[in-house]
Amino acid sequence: MDLQTILSKYPPQPQYLIEMLIDVDDATEQHYVSEDELRTIAAYVGVRDSQVYSVMSFYTMLSTTPRGKYVIQVCKDVPCYLNDDFNVLKTIQDELAIGIGDTTPDQLFSLELTACIGCCDEAPAMRVNHETYTNLSDEKVRSILESYRSGLL
């Protein structure tokens, strides 16, 4: 979906900023909002660029810098931690050889931490883009990554 199509879904009012920004992030393969897009959105709803930037930088789901095609978010909170007997994060770092906040050189994966995603009854959990994966095991994490790599997911 291009930017104009996204904007046309919403009235030109600042209250829809977050909705628009999420849509742009979703529609962009690199999951971010570019400076040009940010300016266009600001002009559309009639606020300063800085106001849009302040919103962008406040919310952790939004990014102003390009990310991988698949953004992996690992839950870092206590209920997942208590059930994480193999270390989800370390498994992913082993597989991808990147740190938290980094993107793989092929631009396929970014690795992030997330606050609790409400899957504590099926902990440990992670998200890849908007898909949630629960009851993770070492093998399961590796096979999920492999599925994305090979284009099966």
Binding site: Q13, P14, Q15, Y16, L17, I18, E19, L21, I22, V45, Q51, S54, V55, F58, Y59, T60, M61, L62, K76, D77, V78, P79, Y81, L82, N83, T114, A115, C116, I117, G118, C119, C120, D121, E122, A123, R127, H130, T132
Partner: protein, 420 residues
């Protein structure tokens, strides 16, 4: 029978996306009844029920509703579905399993108070719940449960589903309202409360998902009958999100009056590791951490106030003796350091210092001075911040200083720099 399924009775029974299914399982019956009642009569049932808010603060729902009903002009209703407190997942289930129950609860609230428009603010991470709620709202419009002249009456009400974008603090009512207005989620000074001046300065009634879900139930059995469920401290049922080192993690609906131990042992099946329970965190990251000896207390809000803490939204996180108390507290503090919106200095700067101090206990290099600083800083954050985040975030520290005092002393006495 410990459980009593009222709000969750349709879970797994109906297709959440089928409004017909909901209607066939007495859905929207209470909307029809409410349309025939006066706003005062509906609010009287809510008052009689003694229900309190289910989002964590436990404020009497009827008081908030009455003060909102007294306001004039264009008024909004907001459903707070920004469930972000670690350990809680009840609202996700309510939205994913029975979305129309929420819509019906909002409609009853609107009839009781004269509001004409509503928002459901769902955290952006809950992608599935967002899709289901949007679909349910669309269906409800097709069936004339939303829109103008609802079910042939003069009642008008519509709902918009809005997404958050990853900010725990937006679960706080004014932060949520700021976010709905398209801004960064930073709270406002109270009073005035949202019921007087909320979204775009209009009176706004904001309640948790579970609170709205209780309204059809209250009307069905009547406020007086509802008040009999539970205990003298709190009425009705409570959804409990049970997680951590426990065999049967999951969502349970129990009447107030049941004990924490009953939930953990009977429903949860005890620890999944076979190890003893070292501690239980109640409510989530913002809640008290209590030892095994206190698990025979019941789950009501009022009782928990004896140690200045509450059950919150109903999370119970079980932690066995293989875990270090300070490691758990550190994770809580790192969470708040990240989630502070930055508006109040004690919260913005204080959590960074709390992390630093707690890490000293984890690393076994803490001194008595660190303990005193930790206590004093936790008290300052608790007492001087504007919103519920800073007011509750130090609870895991303050409660453990009381209930696990020995652990603190042990760390100080066995400081590895003093006694290598």
């Amino acid at each position: 029978m410990i459980e009593r399924k009222e709000l969750t009775k349709r879970f797994g029974v109906i297709d959440p996306l089928s409004i017909e299914d909901y209607i066939n399982h007495d859905g929207y019956e209470m909307l029809k009844q409410a349309i025939t009642m006066t706003p005062e009569a509906i609010r009287e049932e809510v008052r009689l029920s003694r229900i309190t808010g289910r989002g964590g603060a436990g404020f009497p729902t009827a008081i908030k509703m009455n003060s909102f009903a007294a306001e004039k002009g264009e008024k909004f209703i907001v459903c707070n579905a920004d469930e972000g407190e670690p350990g809680n997942f009840k609202d996700r289930y309510l939205m994913e399993q029975d979305p129309h129950q929420i819509i019906e609860g909002m409609l009853i609230s609107a009839l009781a108070t004269g509001a004409t428009y509503g928002y459901i603010y769902i955290r952006g991470e809950y992608r599935k719940a967002i899709a289901i709620m949007k679909e349910a709202v669309t269906e409800a419009r097709l069936y004339n449960m939303l829109g103008t002249h609802i079910l042939g009456s003069s009642f008008t009400f519509d709902i918009e589903v809005r997404r958050g974008a990853g900010a725990y603090v937006c679960g706080e009512e004014f932060a949520l309202i700021e976010s709905l207005e398209g801004k960064a989620g930073r709270t406002r000074v109270k009073p005035p409360y949202p019921a007087q001046r909320g979204m775009f300065q209009h009176p706004t009634l904001i309640n948790n998902v579970e609170t709205f879900c209780n309204l059809p139930f209250i009307l069905r059995i009547g406020g007086a009958e509802y008040a009999k469920i539970g205990s003298e401290y709190a009425s009705g049922t409570k959804l409990i999100s049970l997680s951590g080192n426990v065999r049967n993690k999951g969502l349970y609906e129990v009447p107030y009056g049941r004990t924490i131990r009953e939930v953990i042992e009977t429903l949860g099946g005890g620890t999944n590791t076979g190890r003893p329970i070292k501690m239980v965190q109640l409510g989530g990251a913002c809640g008290a951490i209590i030892p095994d000896e206190l698990l025979d207390m019941d789950i009501d809000n009022e009782r928990f106030e004896m140690f200045d803490s509450k059950m919150g939204a109903g999370a119970i996180i079980v932690i066995d003796d293989s875990h270090d108390l300070f490691d758990i507290i550190l994770r809580n503090m790192e969470f708040f350091a990240h989630e502070s919106c930055g508006k109040c200095t004690p919260c913005r700067e204080g959590h960074i210092q709390l992390v630093r101090l707690v890490r000293k206990f984890v690393d076994r290099v803490a001194t008595m001075d660190d303990y005193i600083s930790l206590k004093s800083l936790a008290d300052v954050i608790h007492e001087t911040t504007l919103c519920g985040l800073g007011q509750t975030s130090p609870t895991s520290i303050l409660s453990t200083m009381e209930f696990f005092h020995e652990d603190y002393l042990d760390r100080i006495q066995n400081n590895k720099e003093v006694r290598p």
